[in-house]
Symmetry: C2
Subunit: 245 residues, 2 copies
DNA sequence: TCTAGTTGTCTAGATCAATAGACAAATTGA
DNA sequence: TCAATTTGTCTATTGATCTAGACAACTAGA
């Protein structure tokens, strides 16, 4: 039994402690089979706080995408299971979530034309400081941010990639408009770290959350690098599977 | 470089985040050779907060026993190194800190005569529910709590152990007054867990801190168990060394 | 349709957290 | 002794957090 009373006056707000406790409690018997949480009043009694304090905790988890509240019905766990992203040669950024979510979408947050830094130049096989197009994107599944990625393309070869992406909301289709009929993932490296400020903002994470970072290079039919990208996933919401393929 | 900006509006007070940051920074170049921290004004500038906020963080660490502030001089790290507790056959509760601290002391917080629970009865080789004396103690090093222990003795054999301990402030001397000339540590098991409410209160820890738990049985000259004890150490302040001895 | 159960919203007050500024008190080195 | 540096204390203000109570809005089942 985990002795998990709340601590007052220690610089951590009660609603955050309760939120963490609820997040931990999910998948540990707090919600019933249907994913329904106990009513707010009961949670308030259980934690020994006011109902409004529990509501603040739930609101934070709703904002994080962990819970979903329905007036008159109750509060439900949004997804009992994590999304599974396949990683393989045929990995397409937006694909691979078939059947796991009702709605998925990629937003273009920002784009720029700029000189490549050393890492990007090396990955794409460019001259130092050659110009690249950088796209900042965010992937949403059923309205919840699950991924945040940055992709670099050689500016000389893909001058209009940002426009194409903005129109099609798809890397595959944007590349097709640029004349790339097919491409494959040459390499992917995966690491995990704590969320930084950008992650907590864009993925709506709480500080201290863990992100998975996947760095990959896509190559065209003749194995020339066309895209270098770095994608951050919320480790709470996503798991990666590496397929041979 | 650890990207460790402060997070506002996430239910964790800035002073706590700063306190954690300082605690982490100690032994990582934040303090100079003499153990002196940068002045409050500089820390405030570095963290981008008001000086009072830094002061709240420092006050918490002073209360925890990590820092020591001196008006006009500066704020100093209390102990750069952790205390090392030897664990071995000849381990004496209060001993083993020779040379590491100026002043050490064991307080008797509470004592009771009560039936043994299953664990204690098994450890001491007693009949179920046979009466035992339980002592609740706290060890201080230079005024800072470093250990919190509970010890059980068979009531029939050591009826006055609490009195003796209160007089002598030493288990060894209290046992001597009870007629035990010598004893040795038959077994010790060590585990680590998060601090619970009792730990945070008695050892002045912050929630989420880690405690080392050492459970041991002391036996007399003819190998009969005379004492079962469970001691919690602040993992921040103490390390244990197991000696063959 | 009615009722019980549940989430959503509003008001109000108490306490905590953070900022701002000023000055006192102690220490150190010139 | 004097000036600079540093911690300690005080007042005041603003916003976040927590409590308390009341009632509206919605859902589901009798």
């Amino acid at each position: 039994m985990s002795k998990s009373a709340l601590h007052r006056g220690v610089g951590v707000a009660l609603w955050r402690q309760i939120g963490d406790e609820i997040r931990r409690g999910i998948g540990n018997g707090l919600a019933d089979e249907s994913g329904r949480l106990p009513p707010e009043a009961e949670l308030a009694a259980r934690f020994g706080v006011n109902r409004h304090t529990v509501r603040a905790a739930i609101a934070a988890l709703v904002h994080e995408g962990v819970l979903r509240s329905e007036q008159g019905r109750g509060t439900y766990v949004r997804r009992q299971k994590r999304l599974t992203y396949p990683i393989g040669a045929r990995t397409r950024f937006s694909a691979g979530l078939e059947g796991q979510v009702r709605d998925r979408q990629i937003e273009l947050l920002d784009h720029a034309r700029e000189p490549a830094n050393a890492t990007v130049a090396a990955a794409l096989g460019l001259e130092p400081a050659e110009e690249v197009i950088r796209l900042e994107m965010r992937g949403l599944a059923d309205g919840v941010p699950v991924s945040r990625s940055t992709a670099w393309f050689r500016a000389a070869h893909f001058p209009d990639i940002a426009d194409y992406f903005a129109r099609t909301h798809s890397i595959t289709r944007a590349l097709a408009l640029s004349g790339i009929r097919d491409y494959r993932r040459a390499s992917t490296t995966i690491e995990a770290r704590h969320a930084d400020d950008t992650d907590t903002r864009d993925l709506r994470l709480s500080p201290g959350a863990i992100v998975l970072v996947a760095r990959g290079i896509n190559v065209d039919g003749s194995d020339k690098p066309i895209q270098y990208s770095q994608t951050r996933f919320s480790a709470d919401r996503v798991e990666l599977t590496v397929s041979a393929d």
